[in-house]
């Protein structure tokens, strides 16, 4: 404990002192303090605690730049006692940005990366997500987990070429039974508490690095993009029968997207071919089948303070017959096509000091649902109060959202920005 505090203090000192000394330019500081308290609504949730959150977070943000380069850092200190009290220190972002040869930009270090067109659903964005935070009421910014990566972008007359190299595979942060329960196919039921779930990571070898690339440009007022990803499924979706562990199978993705103004709103279309490299023939039911994943979405303002959007996603298994033929008895057969619809409604009130937001996910093929509801009130520019709920439902326990159906929770969040 003492060691940890010392380490934290040292980190703060380094954080506060080093970059300006290095770059000696303009420096800005900021951040927030936040309290988040949440509890589960399901009495029979098998997790360790009925609380889903009881944390105080201090974020320090620092930006510093000179003519040559730019530094940005974001450091979170969290005291969390939803179960066993613990302190946590996370470098959310810490990178250097610089420009070379006029048209080449680099961003190197720990960073949050996003691309693609979907609203909270992702096809070609295979950067790490944090569903543990997403499901328990933390701010939207915590849906994205940081990656240690090298990013380069070349701005050519033809369009923009971006490349991202992540030396060590960074998986999604998913419910492990600690704070949120989940369906365990081996146990055949929803489980929580110890032992916490852990997927087997790929070996720390260079061949197991992640590579993501994108080409993007404008055609009239439409932005179009082509994508490539080489790495692993970000969730441990494959099962090793020998030692009954879940692991991250190898994956390539080839995709494209277009986004454009349409009918007074914005429309988007995105598609990706998921090449499941460990199951090239599609006959191994313990590894995901290759799929074509597609989505279409539309957003527009309904009036000056109300915005709505709608999305439809479709994932199509390429070798469903082979998969089904090889399915062991007692394992539930997945549909050839997965359907998902989502909708977001955002209403602003009182000169945009109050935001009422709902976001619903519903899969007609899986018959499961996930809803996010929140009301936030900016009492002053600095102080924001928010309440919200995360509600899951599903006919079956093993579907994407059904697997979390005992995790319904409500939360209260107070944020003071500085």
């Amino acid at each position: 404990m003492k060691k940890q505090i010392l380490f934290s203090l040292a980190a703060v000192l380094v954080f506060m002192v080093t970059p300006p000394a290095l770059l000696a330019g303009e420096t800005y500081l900021g951040g927030f303090v936040q309290g988040l308290y949440g509890g589960g609504l399901d009495r029979d949730n098998p997790t360790s605690s009925e609380m889903t959150a009881s944390e105080t977070r201090l974020q320090l943000r620092m930006e510093s730049f000179s003519d040559a380069a730019e530094f940005f850092g974001r450091l979170d200190f969290v005291y969390d006692d939803y179960y066993n009290p613990s302190t946590e220190l996370e470098l959310r972002e810490g990178f250097v940005k610089f420009r070379m040869f006029k048209n080449l930009d680099f961003k190197i270090g720990r960073q949050i990366i996003t691309w693609g067109t979907g609203d909270l659903i992702f096809i070609n964005d295979l950067f790490a997500k944090d569903y543990r935070s997403f499901f328990n009421g933390r701010d939207d910014q915590y849906l994205k987990a940081p990656q240690n990566a090298l990013r380069a972008a070349w701005y050519s007359p033809l369009g923009t070429f971006s490349g991202i190299y992540t030396p060590r595979f960074t998986p999604n942060r998913i419910p492990t039974g600690e704070r949120l329960s989940y369906f365990n196919p081996m146990a055949g039921q929803i489980v929580g508490g110890e032992p916490y779930f852990e997927g087997r990571m790929p070996e720390a070898e260079f061949k197991n690095s992640e590579i993501a690339a994108r080409f993007s440009r404008y055609v009239g007022s439409a932005d179009i993009a082509l994508y490539f990803y080489h790495g692993f499924y970000k969730n441990p979706t494959a099962l090793d029968m020998v030692d009954s562990t879940a692991y991250y199978p190898r994956l390539n993705v080839y995709g494209a997207s277009v986004r454009l103004p349409l009918l007074g709103g914005i429309a988007w279309l995105e598609s990706g071919y998921y090449d499941s490299r460990d199951d090239a023939d599609g006959d191994n039911p313990l590894i995901p089948n290759s799929t074509i994943n597609s989505m279409v979405g539309f957003e527009r303002q309904l009036n000056a303070s109300l915005t709505a959007n709608f999305q439809y996603q479709n994932n199509y298994m390429l070798d469903h017959d082979l998969y089904a033929d090889n399915l062991p008895p007692r394992m539930v057969e997945m549909d050839e096509t997965y359907h998902l619809v989502t909708s977001r409604l955002t209403q602003m009130l009182w000169m945009e000091t109050v935001t009422v937001s709902t976001f619903g996910f519903y899969s007609p093929s899986e018959k499961d649902f996930y809803g996010r509801f929140s009301v936030s009130y900016k009492y002053t520019d600095a102080l924001t109060l928010a309440v919200g709920a995360n509600i899951f439902d599903g006919k079956e326990d093993y579907t994407d959202f059904g697997r979390f159906k005992k995790n319904d929770n409500v939360y209260l969040k107070i944020t003071y920005g500085y």
Binding site: E26, P261, E299
Partner: protein, 267 residues
């Protein structure tokens, strides 16, 4: 004969009258056009630090601070805007970009750095509030003079200075206002007061210029206020560190700089 003559004289008089009216309308149009160009297209480009104070009906204040960069591609036509938010804390480092299209919907982008997200924003409703203030998007980038019919009501004095008073009525039914009265400073040809009336012809919003400064020889309203009379709330905007003709290039208004603020302009 007499009748014919009377008719001719009347016709001629009517014609002269109509021509006079027409001439006056043309003059009103020219004034509104020039005032629009002077307010929204000063110089070829411009940069400023902006401090916005929003005051609600209970007198509670909120503040926004941002840097704003503008490039005119064509006077009265295509224009690009870049906004870099500084305060409050929860929106700091956020950037917002607009390609203002003269004959189509504007293209708008928002970049949220905490999630590295480039979001395109539907720009259908020009009467949406700009960052929660009493200014609408249209107030920020201006309403094109060709969208309304203008009539010069009179010449007058306002705050001791000679002015024109012009009335504007939207050509097509418009929810932003039913009628607008603009007071234009004669010497500077700048709008110094605008009154917006709703469908019942009740005064709804009043825009006033509180302070004009000469910057690089350009008369610039550096303190502006918009008051919603019906809701009893107002917003003031103060411009500082204004610079014109800083030679900003068109490529600054692209995704590259949306994600990486151009530090030669925005420190």
């Amino acid at each position: 004969m007499n009748f014919k003559r009377t008719f001719s004289v009347t016709a001629v008089l009517l014609l002269i009258g109509a021509a006079g009216l027409f001439a006056q309308d043309n003059r009103a149009l020219d004034l509104m056009k020039q005032a629009h160009l002077n307010l929204y297209y000063a110089g070829d480009d411009g940069i400023a630090e902006v401090k916005m104070t929003i005051v609600n009906s209970k007198g509670k204040e909120r503040q926004r601070e941002f840097a704003m960069l503008r490039l005119d591609l064509e006077d009265g036509g295509r224009q690009d805007y870049y906004t870099y938010f500084r305060q409050p804390s929860d929106v700091s480092r956020l950037t917002f970009m607009v390609h203002k299209m003269p004959d189509a919907s504007d293209n708008r982008w928002l970049y949220v750095p905490s999630v590295d997200l480039v979001k395109r924003i539907s720009a259908d409703d020009k009467n949406s509030s700009f960052v929660g203030s009493d200014f609408t998007y249209e107030d920020v980038s201006g309403r094109h003079w060709s969208e309304d019919n203008h009539k010069l009501l009179r010449e007058d004095t306002y705050n001791g200075r000679p002015v024109y008073v012009v009335e504007s009525i939207p050509k097509e039914s418009y929810k932003g206002f039913a009628r607008k009265v603009t007071i234009i400073d004669k010497e500077y040809i700048l709008p110094v007061r605008e009154e917006y009336y709703d469908k019942k012809d009740k005064l709804e919003r009043v825009f006033t210029v509180e302070k004009i400064e000469s910057i690089d020889g350009i008369q610039t309203p550096t303190l502006r206020k918009i008051e919603n009379v019906q809701k009893n709330q107002y917003t003031t905007v103060e411009f500082t560190n204004i610079d014109y003709n800083v030679n900003v290039k068109e490529n600054v208004f692209t995704e590259r700089f949306l994600k990486n603020p151009p530090r030669e302009f925005i420190k």
